[in-house]
Amino acid sequence: MVVRVICHINLIKGEEKMLKKLLFFALILLVVAGCSSQDSGTENDDSSKKVKLEIMMFEGGFGSDWVEKSADKYMKDHSNVEIELIASPDISKQLQPRVVAGDSPDIINPGPKFDIKALMNNGGLLDLSDYLDTPAYDSDEKWGDTFKPGQLVLQKDASHYGIPILFSTGYLWWYDQKLFNDNNWDVPETWDDLYVLNEKAKAEGISTFALPGQGPAYSLYGLYLPLVQRMGGFEAIESGFNLEKGAWKSEPFLNAAKEIAKMREEEGMFLEGSMALSHIEAQTQFFQRNALFAMAGTWLEGEMQDVIPEDFELTALNQAPWSDGPAEQQKAAPVSSGWGGGWYVSKDSDHADEAIDFLKFLSSQGEMSEMVSSRGLPSTIKGTDEAIQSDTLKTALNVIDEAEGLTYIPTAINDSYPEFTINITNQIQALLLGEVSPEEFIDYAEKQAETLRNDDSIEKVEYKFGEK
């Protein structure tokens, strides 16, 4: 009808043909568009109510294959459930537009670059508190009781919004026990021992630290903040994280900065060239035995498994004590805050019950024991430590055990104040390069803390560490 009407207009022959072709193609496109169906998450097949669960997870040093295995197993036992797993190191970039569009996945494991607390504060996450009181997967025990004591910390007020499945230490120091044995070196038991060790290693052409200059956060969490804690105890760290006036210019912060400058300038403790390296490149240098220590969490072994020589005896070490610091806190160990590594259910999920059931399955002792054994990652679930095969992992857990509850969370500052942390991190890089002095560094840090303190648009958090 439309074509005939247009043809009655006195068109030139060629234009008439062109227009007919265009309209024909437009019609085809409309038909094709009309035939495409949108994924609604549930098949419209009346014969079985198939549920599709979508999981978006961060793929970092811990990988995602262990979740994939569990998902495959779960689907075999639950034929009505289809699980789609999307894992990526940049999952935050995919997650954010989905959340904004109101199309959150059912299950979220956001990683460090997504503001999961903002999603929680905006009512985007399901309150798991009641679910934690229900039985765990294939068990009569309450789900919440299957977690190790003190692990369920992903909460606001009294409500639990996330569950942690993997346990991660903070940034520990790692070394090769074989290298030390072969050279008859002792691990440093004091900060002064570190300097003695440095001289011995230099004589062998080995640097003390492989610092990833392109990832200065490693130096912030693995060297600077732990040194502040050693020098000033939890009190110093808490004053800084709580943005107390003058905290970032106090003695522990200044002295820690001076110590790092001394390590670089006078003692030459950092691997030459490492300031231009990424964390993978720096860690590779470490595994090539060009440096004594690398700083990382328990993900190091898994992350670098393709590079680690067979005879390398990767062992964890707590940061050396500072002789003038509070004696009772020198064994304090860093742990990870866990918000980025937690598992959450979207409030808007159409299949919340199924999502919870899968999370129960994923966090069940059986699944976690299998993961711990095969993947070498520690979990927060009771009764899984026995499955640890990795000697390396056992050394890391020993560090935490030896702290006897004296733990703190250097990375917590990033959870609450990411912009402040990025600015401090950049300045740490300048300090390590010798572009700013320790005094300039703390002046800058204090100025940033003041700006943050006075910014009423940013919610402030109260930190308290070391409570058992």
Partner: protein, 292 residues
């Protein structure tokens, strides 16, 4: 007849206008709108009026990023334009067409490699410990020249300029070359007969006749310099200590690192206005010279 032809023109234009509006015009206005709010990317937007813009004025990191972007622009334009002009003239004067095709293909080759791959490749070459550059220098007895290219503020910046030039110069060379080859031979022969040497023919005949294509090249280089992102992101992460951080990376950090989408939008809109003005000015200056 005319009306019916116009109808056909609109039939072809409307889809293009629609797509342009959807993917270009709408995002600009959406960004402007978002810039008047505090928004963490999730949840409600809170109206703040002009405060994001006033905050930008005192944000030393924003100013630093703008300065860095200006430096990228000021270095890249003359380097790329002059080098591509020289290369195109050399290629145009090749002895035979086979050689010309070979040179043209060789210089264009880096351009077909995706920018991300180029940045990662050169980051590996410039690695201070295992990179090809330092290892080669060491092997020929010039180890004292080895350097932490990407960890030193001055060399990191120069390295990025170099990589950007290496990647894109082929495209501009081929562009200029095409225009060069279209210059009527008779004009050049006449100049030669009149006693003009090669350099005089290049300066007084070829370059003036290349004004239009040079204008295009300058605008392209300007825009690409202003929106530089991959090389600083992948080679230096904007470091050391923001020394190589351009405005695009700063905006990215504000949005996806600090969850300040309103603030990032304000920075983005300011940058859009600056780019727009700079591009117009450049075109005006070059057109002014054309009219002389």
């Amino acid at each position: 007849m005319v009306t019916q032809s116009k109808l056909l023109i609109w039939v072809f234009l409307i889809p293009a206008i629609f797509l342009y509006s959807l993917f270009v015009v709408y995002p600009i206005f959406s960004t402007l709108w978002t810039s008047f709010f505090n928004w963490g990317g999730i949840g409600e937007k809170v109206w703040t009026g002009w405060s994001n813009y006033t905050q930008l004025l005192s944000d030393e990191n924003f100013i630093n990023a703008l300065i860095n972007t200006g430096k990228y622009m000021l270095f890249q334009i003359p380097v790329i334009v002059i080098l591509s002009l020289i290369f195109s003239m050399i290629i145009a004067n090749s002895a035979n067409s086979k050689k010309m095709r070979f040179y043209r293909s060789s210089i264009f080759l880096p351009y077909v490699i995706p920018g991300v791959a180029v940045a990662m490749l050169w980051a590996a070459v410039l690695n201070p410990i295992t990179g090809l550059l330092n290892v080669s220098l060491d092997s020929i007895g010039l180890g004292f020249l080895a350097h932490e290219w990407l960890a030193d503020s001055s060399t990191a910046f120069a390295s990025i300029i170099w990589v950007k030039t290496w990647h894109s110069i082929g495209f501009y060379t081929v562009l200029i070359l095409a225009a060069l080859l279209n210059i009527p031979k008779e004009i050049l022969e006449a100049a030669e007969v009149d006693g003009a040497n090669r350099i005089q023919r290049s300066i007084y005949i070829m370059i003036p006749m290349l004004k239009n294509v040079l204008q295009v090249v300058v605008v392209f280089v300007l825009i690409n310099a202003l929106k530089i992102f991959e090389e600083p992101q992948l080679m230096t992460r904007g470091g050391p200590n923001r020394a190589t951080e351009p405005i695009s990376l700063y905006i990215y950090e504000q949005a996806f690192g600090n969850y300040k989408f309103g603030y990032a939008s304000a920075a983005g809109f300011v940058f859009f206005v600056i780019t727009f003005i700079l591009t117009l000015l450049t075109l005006r200056v070059m057109r002014g010279r054309n009219n002389e």
